[in-house]
Symmetry: C2
Subunit: 333 residues, 2 copies
DNA sequence: CTGTTAGCGCCTTCAT
DNA sequence: ATGAAGGCGCTAACAG
């Protein structure tokens, strides 16, 4: 058995309570004794047992993180930031994937909750099932909302708006929007923001002709490629000169479809993504996209969990347009 | 306070020991009593407290996973498989990033060890520092070796060999190899395997002219692009017609450099990667690569940790060549 | 077959 | 300022 507080106490000739106080840096400990105890701790190589501590205190130094899929670059980046911040504060993170499956999500959340974490950061998949599971559980939700739970994320409408605005101001008048799964609020909001800016333009410039269409699908590469093919196979005046997507992964899939058809980006087609995953600045051409401030999101989420007082019911951060090389001005040809 | 085994016992009119036995599915419990206890558990919504359990049993249901960077698709995939398998067995995984920094790694490992995990899966960064930290700790090492620790990974030499063999049999005679950081065993082994096949060919076909060169760098996209530029800017007969890389990320960076120079893959240049990350089959053209059986690796690693007996000191899995569209036969032109 | 009980390692109150 | 002791929730050994 490992060395415990008892061994230290005996070796130092004091009571366990005193050792505990030394550990807790309690000021009411005699200097001389403190030194002695610390020496013994060094000598014996004593390491506090976090389980005993947790049992007594009825809390752990664990943060649960439940995301759909760690393989998704966006969530990987979120996880990385959360882990960095958490470990800097002495917390460890419990990782669980829900695979976008409500049943799996429920099971994972239950499992984590059983470990009595200090808090939980959740990117929820199912609205209802999870809802009362986490009620009153010091949970914060990222990216997707959950009734009654603090949400931290980006202002998706604003993001969609920015994308549309960028394309419009570049002179594009044949535009398509590739949305995410309509079942997800995030996806709907991004699209609404985008469509909103389009409508706004149409009302202000009723004389200008503007072709606009929408498709929906999953957030992944494959969907981007498939939907892209559908969009781009339209001949002549129906084919858009610019497409905005609801995720960078879609955008990258779309880039592939574009190349497949022998079209050039940004000469024949402008593309703007969403998220700004690391890969976005590494593909060719570098992807213009709507950046989510993930480090910030992670920081706020963790803050909300560690210092309960400062919780707000909703925290929408400002997305920002990152102009790179996948978009270009369009003049009628 | 939550409902404990005591509450259940009182409500069911039995002793705590009996409840514990019901929970443990101990067969020696009277059917009738078992039912009653289970009903009460349902009714009260009792959830076993894993901390009390851990304290008593002196073990947790936690698996530590320490990797360089969750943002790296290869490690993300590893993490995903580990997490899936672990949670299927009732374990949760503690995630920590070492950021390829020995000091951070040491701190992370210490922090995780303090949580008394059942075991730890480690992709080590530093040989020495971590060595005695995990000695005797039920640790298994993945991808990179650590003295005295079980290693599960792919046979890197064999992987390198396969890549070279593929290129050679395709008829390429101007070949380059882009290696990983020479400080890493993995990188060295892959290169040795590759070079080995090249030498073998040269000895068996002394009359054939064969140009071969090597460059080294990091495993990431950026290194792939930079090294690729260096390799491809060589004019005429010095420019390779095929390049193998030590990682898919390098290969994808290289693809970008290739496109930048107006070269076509696989017409002007064949490329073979290493790892087979998800993105490898999504880039254009789809990347021919050496596949690491990650699901298998995760399974074996976890097995080694959960059933100590079956540990072997080293487990080298067979990599497999996945032929896609980034390689093509080369005839002298 | 079931009840009772003794800790697991730690913190904290209550005396001293 | 320090020691003694109780108890967090649970399991396992022992007694009945």
């Amino acid at each position: 058995m490992a060395v415990t507080i008892k061994h230290v106490a005996k070796a130092a000739g004091v009571a366990v309570g005193t050792v505990s106080r030394v550990l807790a840096k309690n000021k009411t400990v005699n200097e001389e004794i403190r030194i002695r105890v610390e020496d013994v701790i060094q000598e014996l190589g004593y390491k506090p047992n976090s389980i005993g501590r947790s049992l007594r205190l009825n809390k752990t130094d664990l943060i649960g993180l439940v995301i759909p899929d760690i393989t998704n670059p966006f969530f990987a980046e979120l996880a990385k930031h959360v882990e960095m911040l958490a470990s800097a504060e002495g917390y460890s993170v419990l990782l669980a994937n829900s695979h976008d499956d409500p049943a799996a999500e429920q099971q994972q959340v239950q499992a984590l909750l059983g470990r009595l974490p200090s808090g939980m950061i959740l990117v929820p998949v199912s609205e209802s099932v999870i809802g009362d599971l986490v009620r009153g559980k010091n949970t914060v939700t990222v990216d997707r909302p959950l009734k009654g739970q603090t949400l931290v994320g980006v202002d998706n409408r604003r993001g969609g708006y920015l994308a549309a605005d960028h394309l419009l101001s570049l002179g594009h008048r044949r535009i398509a929007y590739m949305g995410g799964p309509p079942a997800l609020d995030v996806a709907r909001e991004r699209r609404e923001g985008f469509v909103g800016r389009i409508r706004e333009f149409q009302q202000k410039n009723p004389s200008q002709s503007l072709a606009f269409q929408t498709v929906d699908g999953n957030f992944d590469y494959r969907a981007g490629e498939e939907l892209g093919n559908r969009l781009l196979r339209q001949e002549g005046p129906h084919r858009p000169t610019a497409i905005a997507t609801a995720s960078d992964q879609q955008a990258i899939g779309l880039m592939r479809a574009t190349a497949d058809l022998g079209l050039s980006i940004p000469n024949d087609l402008s593309i703007v993504g969403f998220d700004d995953i690391p890969l976005a600045s590494l593909v060719l051409p570098r992807l213009t996209t709507i950046r989510q401030p993930l480090a910030e999101i992670a920081r706020i989420a963790l803050d909300a969990i560690l210092n309960r007082p400062s919780v707000t019911k909703e925290c929408k951060l400002e997305p920002v347009l990152v102009e790179r090389n996948s978009t270009r001005a369009w003049s009628v040809r």
